[in-house]
């Protein structure tokens, strides 16, 4: 569905991506994560067409038409809209650009937004849900979601995620999410991509990742195992290892623990800060 080939992009003097490749198949729910400033949001913006690559290309499945933006739902933390428009005007403008004959505003009505309010007067939560409503109205094939779920309350967050699950239940939808916090989206994700310095350091299915990253509580460093990071306590240490396989289980001195996604990503990132 999404093919990124040879992507190079600089932000002024900073080269964010150099010859970057990524392929995302249709219907996959994909998480892109990494430390702050590594280029995750930039990548999403490039995929949305809001930033232009210096070199290389980002191609979408021909099914999306000549201009893939018509079937692309992009929500970023900038929540960009014409701020001096009222909610009603913004919806009308959106409808006319996308050629929509109707607009299902059930989401917006959830948040009790007044249609005469100006966009700039809305709270972050209201604005996020308005954005979501706008992009869902065009029945997107691809959703590109950038970190916004952190800045809204738990209730709206759930509504937001429920929308995504609803659509996934009805039809194929390719979702690319950029997040640093995934406790409530963990079970939606199929693929985890970790970015570091404009490159992919980890690209695994979530099930494989969970099988391969373990925490070992031991007094001494486990031999011949790749350690991502460690936490030292007075009487023992925690070692985060990757890759693990079941064959190693007998040979390890120490208790082996499974990890949730947050802990796994933290282990990878922790290694970078060390």
């Amino acid at each position: 569905m999404i093919e990124i080939r040879g992507l190079s992009f600089s932000y002024g003097k900073t080269k964010v991506f150099r010859n970057f490749d990524l392929s995302i198949p249709e219907g996959q729910v994909c998480l892109i994560t990494g430390i702050n400033g590594v280029g995750k949001s930039t990548l999403l913006r490039l995929m949305a067409g809001v930033l232009r690559p210096d070199q290389g290309e980002i191609r979408y499945d021909a099914r999306l038409g000549a201009d893939p933006r018509r079937k692309l739902g992009f929500v970023s933390d900038a929540l960009s809209l014409y701020e001096s428009m009222s909610v009603a005007e913004a919806i009308g403008f959106h409808k006319s650009v996308y050629g929509l004959s109707s607009f299902d505003d059930s989401l917006v009505r959830h948040t009790k937004i007044s249609y005469s309010q100006k966009i700039r007067e809305l709270s972050v939560g209201q604005r996020t849900i308005l954005h979501l409503n706008l992009i869902l109205s065009l029945e997107p094939e691809v959703l590109l979601v950038d970190e916004i779920i952190h800045s809204i309350d738990a209730y709206l967050r759930r509504i937001f995620l429920e929308q995504i699950v609803q659509i996934l239940s009805k039809r194929r939808l390719t979702v690319v999410m950029v997040n640093v916090n995934f406790h409530d989206i963990e079970h939606l994700i199929e693929r985890v991509i970790l970015l570091k310095s404009g490159e992919i350091t980890v690209d695994e299915n979530i099930e494989d990742l969970k099988a391969k990253v373990k925490r070992i509580n031991a007094r001494n460093r486990p031999e011949s195992l790749n350690i991502l990071s460690r936490i030292d306590y007075s009487d023992h240490s925690e070692f985060f290892i990757y890759p693990f396989n079941e064959g190693l289980r007998g040979a390890i001195e120490g208790d082996i623990f499974d990890l949730n996604l947050t802990e796994i990503v933290s282990a990878f990132i922790g290694g970078e800060y060390a």
Partner: protein
């Protein structure tokens, strides 16, 4: 004696490396084998299950698909999924689960240093007194 009713409470352990679909599958199987979900009873719909658990619908599709393949449920096109109680299969699966649970208990007890004799005695004592959290059928297990 309490008969637990209603659809099973499925709690996914995010920390477990056991894949999500496997966890859900086991929970539903357990509910069927323990009689909580009765023969012919309809399962929560695919979509609602995905919403409830905030799980990718593809995962639920996989779960229901595998359960159907293993003979625990059947689907009526457009009309949901239903529990199927194949008596032979039921007995076999129940036995497997029983063995699994027993192995877990016994290995833990052995680890603590108790002998087989002591374990047997404990089982006799506990089944006599009654364990509050477990469901028992007075007719005994088949």
């Amino acid at each position: 004696m309490v008969e637990l009713e209603g659809p099973p409470q499925i709690i996914i352990d995010a920390k477990s490396a056991v894949p999500v679909y496997e966890q859900i599958k086991r929970a539903i199987k357990l509910a069927i084998l323990s009689g909580r979900l009765k023969d012919g009873e309809q399962l929560t719909t695919l979509r609602e299950m995905a919403l409830k658990l905030m799980v990718n619908p593809n995962t639920i599709i996989k779960v229901y698909g595998q359960l159907e393949n293993e003979g625990f449920i059947y689907s009526r096109p457009g009309a949901g999924h239903y529990v199927r109680l194949d008596p032979a299969k039921f007995i076999q699966s129940k036995h497997e689960l029983f063995r699994e649970v027993s192995q877990d208990y016994i290995s833990k007890a052995l680890q603590l240093g108790y002998s087989a004799e002591q374990i047997l005695r404990e089982v006799a004592v506990l089944t006599n007194i009654g364990i509050p959290t477990a469901r028992r059928k007075d007719k005994g297990n088949d």
